[in-house]
């Protein structure tokens, strides 16, 4: 089914990677663009091109949401229903779309124009509700943000009448609301016209830090970054310079991977950086690669970020043209290749080892640690993995020095941070503020307080996976240590605020549903436990709850928290655990109200008869 041209295109992409298997997901994207989805025969053809077993391709295709295993309408509409968008009214948009198109999730309109699905967080929490539109014959989709039912009508009509727009830029166009320090550093350029172009960047003194770094030499760069104390912005907060120094001496090749798989619900700062200042992160990648003696670097960007991907690819091309990438960079004799690699819809690929497995063209399962990626990472070679924001800081640290950097923040949490503020606040957005700024300042000073000035019920301070903080923790300074002392974690600094308007049962169920959906399925507690928790919450919500379900969920979640393979496990239940801990009375009141007679659950005693299982072909079968 694949034309010779498409096969050739796939073979070209295979050459971009040290191991051609890495091109599997890109190849499937190409095949999907051609066919509209990935019929088994097409997957078989891709397997033949890669000279691997068909099952290897099918297994990979089955892992990623953005690879279609069944036919879709001309446009794939995905509405985010995760907590961030939920708090901004996505349920209304969903109802409107379902009514307007006459279809439910997972269905296609009879005219074959639209397939509707719900999506997990798409990194637009401050501008939600958001819908991604992806024509099945395009690789990249476009985001429509700040949706209202009226805008949805308009979008649908425009797609029907005029087709897909030429530009992938955000709609409405331009960077999302942002602010913070009087003299922004990372966000200094995003409001400028053509902020994404290299000319703008160069006019601002861009790539001077690279020139300086090359002059300093690799080790001096590493020492400077180490001295700055900058800690990883992805979630774990590990000091970046220390991570670099873990690379074993004398083992080459080494790789660097920029983690642009921003997928922690409530986090949307990397997207802003990549869309409106891509050269800043690219310069960071180059300097870090230079410091770590890396010859091939990758930016692994989540598949949903079509516009950011487009801008990154353009910016990388520009950087090659200007000699900041490729052979003999700035006459230093240093060579670097940079490949932008798209994920395909899997939250777990933000976990660094899962990301590497995914980048190797496999299902995004986390790997055993140790060996840590610095020792055995991509293709079992020493690998540095840093977040977009972390690397974006690097040019500034080099340009202005570690001492300058340390004037911001606290002693252990140096520097400033991009806080993604979302939920029920008046002015959600990305705020660049020093570590140690309090929650109150962020929410009330920068965020303008809560919607309708309702009292805060709870705050998730570091992305959806972190435990909820109650309203009385508003004076907690936002640095790694203080948030931890308050009972949560700073994580990715995605701050989600919710007020009394948000029923806790619904919030807990949505949170658990997300992690159940995104579990990679590798280890038993997460794979089985997530589904169990969701079923209990569904039953409670539907009016079949029992008071003892709360302790039961605490008991089950403890298995997940303590026993899983990777940090996804604990992250998937902290939200629920903290919700039960903080809002037990609300749960109990809900149960009492919806199940006043205390009905016991109906346990199905035998499997449902399924006519799809036919008669056995062989008597023994």
């Amino acid at each position: 089914m694949l034309s010779p041209e498409v096969k050739k295109e796939i073979q070209q992409v295979m050459k971009k990677y040290p191991d051609s298997r890495s091109a599997l997901v890109p190849a499937l994207y190409i095949a999907q663009r051609e066919v509209g989805w990935l019929p088994p025969e097409v997957q078989d053809e891709v397997a033949a091109l890669f000279e691997i077993e068909p099952a290897e391709v099918h297994a990979v295709a089955g892992f990623y949401n953005m690879l279609y295993k069944d036919p879709h309408g001309k446009y794939h509409l995905e509405v985010c229903t995760n907590v961030g968008c939920k708090l901004r009214g996505s349920d209304k948009i969903v109802d409107h779309l379902k009514f307007k198109l006459g279809i439910d999730f997972g269905e296609t309109t009879t005219d074959g124009m639209f397939t509707l699905d719900h999506a997990e967080c798409m990194g637009a929490c401050s501008t939600g509700p958001v819908m991604s539109v992806r024509p099945v014959h395009h690789e990249l989709g476009k985001y429509y943000e700040n949706l209202t039912p009226e805008r949805v009508d308009q979008i649908i009509e425009t797609l029907r009448d005029d087709g897909f727009p030429a530009s992938l830029e955000r709609d409405p166009a331009g960077p999302p609301p942002h602010g913070g320090m009087a003299e922004p550093v990372l966000l200094a350029r995003v409001d400028k016209p053509d902020s994404h172009k290299i000319d703008t960047y160069l006019a601002d003194g861009g790539y001077a830090a690279l020139r300086k770094a090359v002059g300093m030499g690799a080790d001096a760069v590493l020492q400077e970054v180490k001295a700055s104390g900058i800690r990883g912005r992805g979630g774990a907060g590990f000091p970046a310079g220390v991570k670099w120094s873990f690379l074993p001496k004398g083992v080459y090749p080494r790789y660097l991977v920029c983690n642009a798989d921003e997928s922690e619900p409530g986090t949307f700062k990397d997207r802003l950086l990549m869309e409106y200042d891509p050269h800043q992160v690219i310069e960071g990648v180059i300097i870090a690669s230079f410091a770590c003696e890396v010859k091939h670097a990758f930016i692994y960007i989540r598949g949903e970020y079509g516009f950011a991907y487009q801008r990154l690819v353009q910016a990388v091309d520009e950087a090659y043209q200007h000699g900041f990438l490729g052979k003999n960079i700035l006459g230093s004799g240093y060579d670097l290749e940079l490949t932008v690699h798209r994920g395909a819809g899997a939250y777990i690929c933000g976990e660094e080892t899962a990301l590497l497995t995914s980048l190797e063209g496999k299902r995004g399962h986390p790997r055993l640690k140790p060996p840590f990626p610095a020792v055995e990472g991509l293709y079992s070679k020493p690998t540095v993995i840093n977040n977009v924001e972390t690397l974006s800081n690097v040019p500034h640290i080099i340009a202005r020095g570690a001492d300058w950097y340390k004037t911001f923040g606290t002693e252990k949490s140096t520097g400033f941070r991009l806080f993604s503020l979302s939920g029920q606040v008046k002015k959600p957005g990305v705020y660049e503020l020093p570590h140690g700024t309090t929650l109150r300042t962020l929410i009330y000073e920068y965020g303008g307080g809560t919607v309708d000035d309702k009292p805060i019920k709870g705050i998730v301070p570091g992305g959806l996976s972190m435990p909820i903080l109650p309203a009385d923790k508003l004076d907690t300074p936002l640095d790694f240590e203080s948030v931890q002392a308050a009972g949560s974690m700073l994580g990715s600094a995605g701050v989600i605020v919710f007020t009394e308007d948000m029923p806790i049962v619904s919030l807990a169920k949505r949170t658990v549903a997300f992690y159940r959906d995104e579990s990679c399925g590798k280890c038993s507690p997460c794979r089985e436990g997530g589904g169990w928790l969701e079923k209990i919450l569904e039953r409670i919500e539907a009016g079949g709850g029992r008071p003892e379900d709360l302790d039961e969920m605490m008991r089950i979640s403890k298995f997940i928290e303590e026993q899983t393979f990777c940090p996804f496990g604990p992250a998937s239940v902290w939200g629920l655990q903290s919700a039960i801990r903080l809002y037990r009375d609300e749960f109990l009141a809900y149960i009492k109200k919806t199940n006043p007679e205390g009905k016991a659950p109906q346990v199905p005693v035998r499997p449902i008869f399924r006519p799809d299982v036919g008669k056995p072909a062989h008597p023994r079968d």
Partner: protein, 860 residues
């Protein structure tokens, strides 16, 4: 050995090699930490979380998986702590919530790790009050295996086995989270040839054997430690039986032979053992038809004819078998040598094969060799478990592979393939030798060889041009050989038989000699007891122990043992016998466990004066016989087999033979006891007939008695009693059969295609139409359909179409076959597998070894 470290489990001090996994170290001191995903033969994964223990860490006690945690000095482990127990109970609880409650009808029930661990480590109650998750239940993922996704605990053992050992990841995980299932790609059932191992590794009843499903409860089975006899590797198996029926075969661990593995033919193709078409009583030809007879009648008829025929022993012959035990083969040759005075003794692929008679150096060599030179060997097809070890060597130790084969066999994906045209193998091997001799160190090591060198140089100028090989492939091959520290040279039947066999093997041996590796040249035979039949002296020019007839002291030793005399002249070879038969020169032929008629020899066999066949089935040969004797299979009698690395292993009786079938050793003993030895002794003319000694009277009461005699008679089997063989068998040292290695000039075999357009290649395949395989119903779809395989280039040249039926003609015969495009067949050659229905390849070969010239024509 790694450094030893000391650590504690529950306060007990343990010593273990540093880096050993905790789960393994604990096992050695009797703590069986429960596992699902962990498996001693697979890389650690840490997915199931069943083996959680607490260890003392920097941040206090932490739960870790003992299957991924290496032990280190001072490690403090708590296995039996409350938290660790609760954690394991929690994992079990989670694994069970969606597990179906169909244990009463599950094949695994009774031997199920999930059941056992739920009993031992579970908390005994379920809190789960929701609906269980439904997935696909019981559907076939191959002709052999059923998958039940609901029973699966997603431990990945099956996936990892197929990936890490088979190197064919044909099973994958699909979807994710709670939806995660194991599955095949749609339309791509498993075809890995050792896939059945995943049934055995599965810790639950998710993967079950379609051959054995629902036919037993594990606790009712009796177990017999035995062997598989489908190929020459001699994999160790456990035969599970109930009520005198074989219910299943499982792999039995033997690190020296098959590790823990079994191929699918070995595991599943045992349907023949109890097939309804087994012979259950002797048959005697009366009035032109075979009719049931008593043993008395049958044996009397055989004895009468044979006594008569033995007056002209050169017109009497016996065909032994590489498929039956040492004891049967030994007695067969003894009977014909001692009583009939004939050396007309051989077996298919016996003396017609050029081999040093020592098989391969050892299976363990696969763990050491850094270069495998595979000459006319298709291990993936013919000896799948050994092929696993090759794959392992390549994938884990980065061993190199150099293949010399006219076909692109599956293992070609692991190395460089040189494809000489049939007849040009010697030229190629000599070319490689000549290229190596340019290396001074190699030339020096080879010693005095000016004559050889000059001869070689003369013979192989510009081999690449003559052979139509690319310089880079040839140069690459030379470089591989030169760099090899420990090469292993293996050759197969395909190149060792027939007219060019001796030249091929000599040329390969020369190459090995130049690299100082002559003791690492090995022959890979097909059949289970190919080595044993040789050792037992089922050869026209070799006595037991592979002793040559001219070895006077050995002959006299044997005569002392046996009594009587051993004929001095070499007898007819297998092909020689059949040629003699065709000429009407055989008055009597005894065929044991062999079927020459199926190989296009019917006409010749019809001309034999009196034909006796002992076999399991009414084979093509048996149909022509005058007397058919129903033989017992190897599972129906004690016996020993010698595998390709000269390991003598025992196969004890597991079930009774059907009807009145009897083991060959017993049939031969009865025949011998009917032999008129006593009359002979009394015969005053005895001395005149030149028989100096009196042949002993046979008095074997059991196969063990026969083995005892073998151990006395066959030097390399000295001391090998039934008990001494034990469960793992014993290997006789290759040095017991010394080589006299020297470089020999090799004459190029003169193969000519004459007016024919192609070469016909005929080799064995695993799933053929032979009775040993085709009687297992579940394997029917796998049997290779008769077809002639041809390269698309040749197809275009001949303007033929795919699927078209065509006429294939060789100098020996002509058959009609459908066409199959197969790019693995090189241009100018045709491939027709042996053993297919209707025996097309055999008809074209007429008993010859391939390749033979052939042509194809459209059927008008």
């Amino acid at each position: 050995m790694a450094d030893m470290v000391k650590f504690t489990i529950d306060g007990k001090e343990v010593e273990a090699p540093a880096g050993e996994l905790l789960v393994d170290a604990a096992k050695r001191i009797g703590i069986n930490i429960p596992v699902f995903c962990s498996h001693p033969k697979l890389d650690p994964l840490g997915a199931c979380r069943m083996c959680l223990v607490e260890v003392e860490g920097r941040r206090g006690r932490q739960l870790v998986t003992s299957c991924t945690t290496p032990v280190s000095e001072g490690l403090v482990v708590y296995y039996d702590s409350e938290r660790a127990r609760a954690a394991r109970a929690g994992t079990l609880e989670l694994l069970l919530i969606n597990h179906p409650l169909d244990c009463p009808i599950c094949d695994k029930g009774g031997e199920c790790p999930l059941q056992d661990q739920a009993m031992e480590h579970g908390n005994g109650e379920s809190h789960f009050v929701e609906e269980k998750h439904h997935k696909n239940k019981r559907y076939p993922i191959s002709d052999w295996i059923m998958l039940d996704q609901e029973r699966c605990v997603v431990c990945w053992r099956c996936i990892r086995y197929l990936d890490e050992w088979e190197d064919k990841p044909q099973l994958g995980l699909y979807h994710r989270g709670g939806e995660t299932v194991i599955d095949i790609a749609p339309g791509h059932p498993l075809d890995a040839k050792t896939s059945g191992n995943i049934v055995e590794m599965c810790p639950v009843g998710a993967l079950t054997s379609r051959v054995s499903r629902f036919s037993y409860r594990p606790w009712e089975l009796s177990h017999t430690d035995s062997l598989c006899t489908h190929c020459a590797l001699g994999c160790n198996v456990r035969v599970d039986t109930r009520l005198n029926q074989v219910k299943r075969l499982l792999a039995r661990e033997n690190p020296a032979v098959n590790d823990q593995w079994l191929c699918d033919k070995g595991r599943f193709a045992f349907g023949y053992m109890q097939h309804e078409s087994r012979l259950t009583q002797p048959l005697l030809r009366k009035n032109g038809t075979l009719q049931p007879a008593s043993w008395e009648e049958a044996l009397d008829a055989v004895t009468a004819k044979l006594v008569e025929a033995s007056k002209q022993p050169q017109r009497v012959a016996a065909i032994g078998s590489a498929k039956v035990s040492n004891e049967a083969n030994y007695l067969l040759q003894k009977f014909f040598r001692q009583y009939v005075h004939s050396n007309n003794i051989d077996f298919r692929h016996g003396s017609d094969i050029a081999t040093a008679g020592r098989g391969i150096p050892s299976i363990a060599e696969f763990e050491k060799a850094d270069l495998f030179v595979l000459f006319g060997v298709d291990m993936a097809e013919n000896i799948p478990v050994l092929d696993l070890f090759l794959k392992r060597a390549v994938n884990r130790r980065h061993a190199k592979v150099l293949l010399i084969n006219s076909r692109r066999v599956e293992d070609s994906r692991y190395g460089t393939l040189l494809q000489p045209a049939p007849g040009e193998e010697v030229l190629l091997l000599n070319g490689l030798s000549a290229a190596l001799l340019k290396d001074e160190a190699i030339a020096k090591r080879a010693g005095r060889l000016s004559g050889y060198k000059a001869w070689l140089a003369d013979m192989v100028s510009e081999p690449t041009a003559k052979l139509n090989l690319s310089e880079s492939d040839f140069g690459g091959a030379v470089a591989m050989l030169r760099r090899a520290q420990r090469p292993l040279f293996l050759y197969g039947e395909a190149v060792a038989g027939g007219k060019s066999g001796a030249a091929n093997v000599t040329a390969l041996t020369n190459l090995a000699l130049l690299l100082g590796a002559v003791d690492r040249v090995g022959y890979l035979p097909y059949d289970a007891n190919a080595q044993g039949a040789r050792d037992m002296g089922v050869l026209p020019d070799r006595l037991p122990g592979q002793i040559v007839l001219s070895d006077a002291s050995a002959v006299s030793r044997l005569q002392r043992q046996w009594g009587g005399t051993v004929p001095a002249e070499p007898g007819l070879t297998y092909l020689g016998m059949l040629q003699a038969a065709a000429q009407g020169e055989l008055d009597f032929l005894y065929v044991m466990g062999s079927d020459p008629a199926a190989e296009g020899m019917s006409e010749a066999l019809q001309k034999v004066g009196f034909l006796v066949v002992s076999d399991l089935f009414l084979t093509e040969t048996a149909k022509l016989a005058d007397v058919v004797l129903p033989a017992a299979d190897y599972v129906e009698s004690d016996g020993t087999f010698t595998n390709l690395e000269r390991r003598v292993q025992r196969a004890p009786k597991a079930v009774r033979a059907p009807g009145r079938a009897a083991p060959d050793w017993l049939i031969l003993t009865h025949l011998a006891q009917r032999w008129p030895v006593v009359e002979e002794i009394k015969d005053p003319k005895r001395k005149k007939r030149g028989h100096g000694r009196t042949p002993n009277i046979w008095s074997y009461a059991s196969p063990q008695d026969v083995l005892q005699e073998i151990a006395r008679v066959v030097p390399m089997y000295a001391g090998l009693t039934w008990d001494a063989l034990g469960d793992a068998g014993q290997q006789w040292p290759a040095e017991a059969l010394p080589l006299r290695p020297r470089l020999q000039s090799v004459t190029l075999p003169t193969l000519s295609r004459r007016s024919f357009t192609h070469w016909l290649i005929a080799e064995r395949v695993l799933y053929d139409a032979g009775q040993l395989f085709a009687t297992t119903e579940q394997g029917h779809n796998l049997i290779m359909a008769p077809a002639v395989h041809i390269n698309s280039h040749d197809l275009a040249t001949a303007s033929l179409a795919v699927g078209q039926e065509i006429q294939v003609t060789s100098p020996h015969g002509s058959v009609r076959l459908p066409l199959l495009v197969d790019e693995n067949v090189s241009p100018g050659t045709l491939f027709v597998p042996l053993g297919l229905a209707g025996a097309p390849a055999e008809q074209l070969l007429d008993g010859q070894y391939g390749p033979v010239p052939a042509r194809i024509e459209a059927v008008a």
